[in-house]
Each structure stands twice: as structure tokens, then as C-alpha cells.
Amino acid sequence: MADGIRVKDLNAWFGDVHVLHGIGLAIAPKAVTAIIGPSGCGKSTFIRCLNRMHEVVPGARVSGTVLVEGEDLYAPGVDPVEVRRKIGMVFQKANPFPTMSVFDNVAAGLRLAGVRNRAMLNDAVERALTHAALWDEVKDRLDRPGSSLSGGQQQRLCIARALAVGPEVLLMDEPCSALDPIATAKIEELILELRKDLTIVIVTHNMQQAARVSEATGFFLLGELVEFGVTRALFTNPRDTRTEDYITGRFG
């Protein structure tokens, strides 16, 4: 992962609606990149393009290139299933599988990919839950339903589930927007821990959060990337007046 992710001239559509216009940026490896912008600016669509989840929506289309380790995710013949295994995703609302226990949720990715070895699964589940800072809280109730955990725990369960398949990149789509400040702080702490091993791209509405956790930030507006750069510089000395208006709350 020396190269990180290089996005070139990325366009995305929902049917006839052109939602992303020629996005280009470079995401550093083993670092946190934040994507900010008002609702409907295309930031969620953007990260969904990074693991080929955008095309899951009927009528959705993508053009352009996304190079991960020099290989284009959108080259012909690339299997989106393989892409998603390497590039995990966490969603806005925690979505543990309701028919599965805590353990089964975390093991789901491996088990459904054909791993049967019990010892290997136990090991992977413990590692993923520890990694997601949830192990101590759930180690005594691994067989309880995943949906029995609190909202913040559920979100960390989803992070553990994504980590268990061993991705190189973790995409987070507003992972804290449904959580209280304490749960949010835990997730942010976790993000800072995870970036030692993973490339993280996080979409957030919360500018303080972007400032706290990320090295680089991109500001999206109306489907365009207005500004992209080092987080501190973007927040203290924005180059574009639209960025300045947004981060100072003078928008609209």
C-alpha cells in the first residue's frame, strides 16, 4: 500500500442525474482522509465509488479510474466482490445482521467466504473485536444477538465485522452521526488506532471530527471537489472562498 488510492476523473450518475463531476485526488496510505460537505454534495456517493458499492443501486453508473496499488478498480474484468473484500465499509447506521449473534456477525465475512476452521474463526473474531475496542465489553456474551448491544457497541461491532476479513482500506460513511458524544469519542479513538494499519476514508458532517481525526480533508460541493489538502491548512487557511464559507458556517 505504498501508493494509497489515486482517483482520476471520477464521474458518477444515478440514472440521468450526474452526481459526481470529474473528481481527482490522491488518498495517502495508512492515514485518515476526511470528506466533508453539505448534504447531497456527493460525498457518500464518492466513497461508495471506492469499493464499487455505488453500482449496487439500480440505474447507478460510474466512469473514471480508481487506482489502488496501481490497479484500476474499474478496469474490465475486475470482480467487484474481490474489490469489496480488500476495501471494507462501515455505514451511517449500525447494521449488524439481526439473525446472527455477536460472534457470528464478526465471523460472517470469513465464514461466508468458506472458512470452516473453528480455531481460526475464534482467533479472527477475537482479533477483530479487540482491534475494534469491543472485546472487553462483549467477550462474555458472544452468543447474544448482535442487535442486543447498544448503538455505539453495534457500530463498533460493524467495524469489527469489516476488519475481520482483513481489508487494507476502511471506508466510513458518517459512522458517528447516529451516536452520542461518548460513543463518538470511542469511535474516533479507534480510528486513530486503526490508521496505523489501515488506509481510512471517512465521510462526516462534523467538521470538528474531521479536524480531530484526519490528516487530509476534501471539501465537496454540488458534486465537485472544491478543495483538497492537509486538514490543518484547509481549516485554518482555506484557498477557496466556498470552503471558507462552509467551515465558518456562513453557507447558503
Binding site: 449496487v56 471494507g88 447494521n95 449488524p96 439473525t99 460472517a108 465475512g109 476479513v165
Partner: protein, 280 residues
Amino acid sequence: MTARRRRWVNVVMAALTALAALGTILPLLFIFGFLVYQGASAINLDFFTRLPKPVGEPGGGMANAIAGSLILIALASALGLPLGILGGVYLAESRERRLPWLIRFVADVLNGVPSIVIGIFAYTVVVLSMRRFSALAGGVALAVIMLPIVLRTTEEMMRLVPASLREAALALGLPEWKVIVRVVLPTARAGIITGVMVAIARVAGETAPLLFTAFGNRFWHQRLDQPIAALPLQIFAYAISPFDDWHRQAWAGALVLITLVFLVSLAARIATRGRYSAVR
């Protein structure tokens, strides 16, 4: 004043809705009570173990009809459930527009076709080509009745599974078929089984489509390509007879039939009361 009025309206409306809810289950309670009153006296061990006696002889039972009904339901389920559930998966998951629309439309029409017409269809297709009445023909007729119910409930229940779960599974790098089989179907399981139970309860009591397919049989059935007895048929035959003893047995048969449906529904409820079920 307005607060008093609001409380008063609240009490009245709450009472009305409770009464209405009670009213919907009253018919069932009445039917069940009436069946017990009329039929309980004819229920004994013989009723479950003996064949019907010839006209004029007292006693006998409906063992062949009970077994026949179970066999017909099993046949109909074997034919109708795989087709209905797989078809429902297609309707829920396909990205096509026109074919699913057409299938949905036809299934809804089929659901409204009188069961006797479906009996005529099974008669024409199965009975005439085999040149005899048979359990198989009865099973086909009942399966056709089950199909649209199972198809549409499977589809509806799969659609109730939140899109976020599909996305979570896809984002783990699962191929679409595994997402369906391992995540969507288990989540929708309880609802699908409820639909299956509704379909079974519906066909268990069907009489008209069996009249000229399964035909009925006063003895133990021999093979699946031979006529077979069924509870609704036996009830019908006994109810229109002039003998008091047979009338009592008809009531008893109805009681057994309704109990059978009740037990099957109850068993399904208990079997699907999984701790993790989301959609019911």
C-alpha cells in the same frame, strides 16, 4: 373542557377499536365452540384408527381421510413450496421490470381464481391424461392454490429486509447469491414460514378442487396414482347424508380438521420463534 372532551373521545375510540378487534376473532371462537359441541361426542380412538363403516352400521372412523389429507398437503407442499419460494426470491431480487410485473399480475389473478376452476384445470391436465382420479391430481390442484400465496408472501417478506443489511453483506465482499441465501432469506424466514402456514391452512380445508381430482376413497389408499380420501371430502359426503350418526362424524371431522390447522400453525410459530428473527 376540551381536555375532558379529548379524554372522552379517547375512551370511546379505544373501546370501539377493542370491540372491533374482538369481533374479528369471535366467529372463530363460535365456530370452534359449535364444532366441539356438535362433534366432540363422535371423537374417540376409533375415529382416528378405523375406516368408515358401511351405511347402517354404527361406529367406524375417518383414519383414511385424516391420513389422506396429510398426504395431499405433503404432496401439494412438495410441488408448490419450492416453486413458490424460489419464484418469490426472483420477484424480490430481479432487476428486470417487465417479467416480474407480469408474474406478479398473473399470480394475483390466480389467487382470485375460484378453487373449483383450479380443480377443473387439474382434472383436465392430470386426471384426463392419467385416465384416473388420483392423489397426485389432488396434490397438483392444491399446489396451484398454494403457489400465488407462497410466491407473493416470500417476495413481500424479502422486500421487508432492510437494504442496509444487503449493503453490509455486499460490502464484506460476498457475492450476491450468498447475500440472498445467508443474510436476506434467514432474516425473512419467520415471515416466509408464516406465509407457508397460511397457504397450508388454506388448502387443508379445500373441498371443491378435490371433488374431481383426489375423488375420495372409503378405504386406505393404495398408491399415489389412485383415488385418496380427504377430510373435507369425507365431511362433505357425511354432511349431506341422511344419517344422524354420519352427521355427528362430519362434525367430528370438521373439528379434527380445524385442530390440525391450528396445530400446524402453532408448531410453525414455535419453530420460528428464533431469538434473532427480525421480520415477522
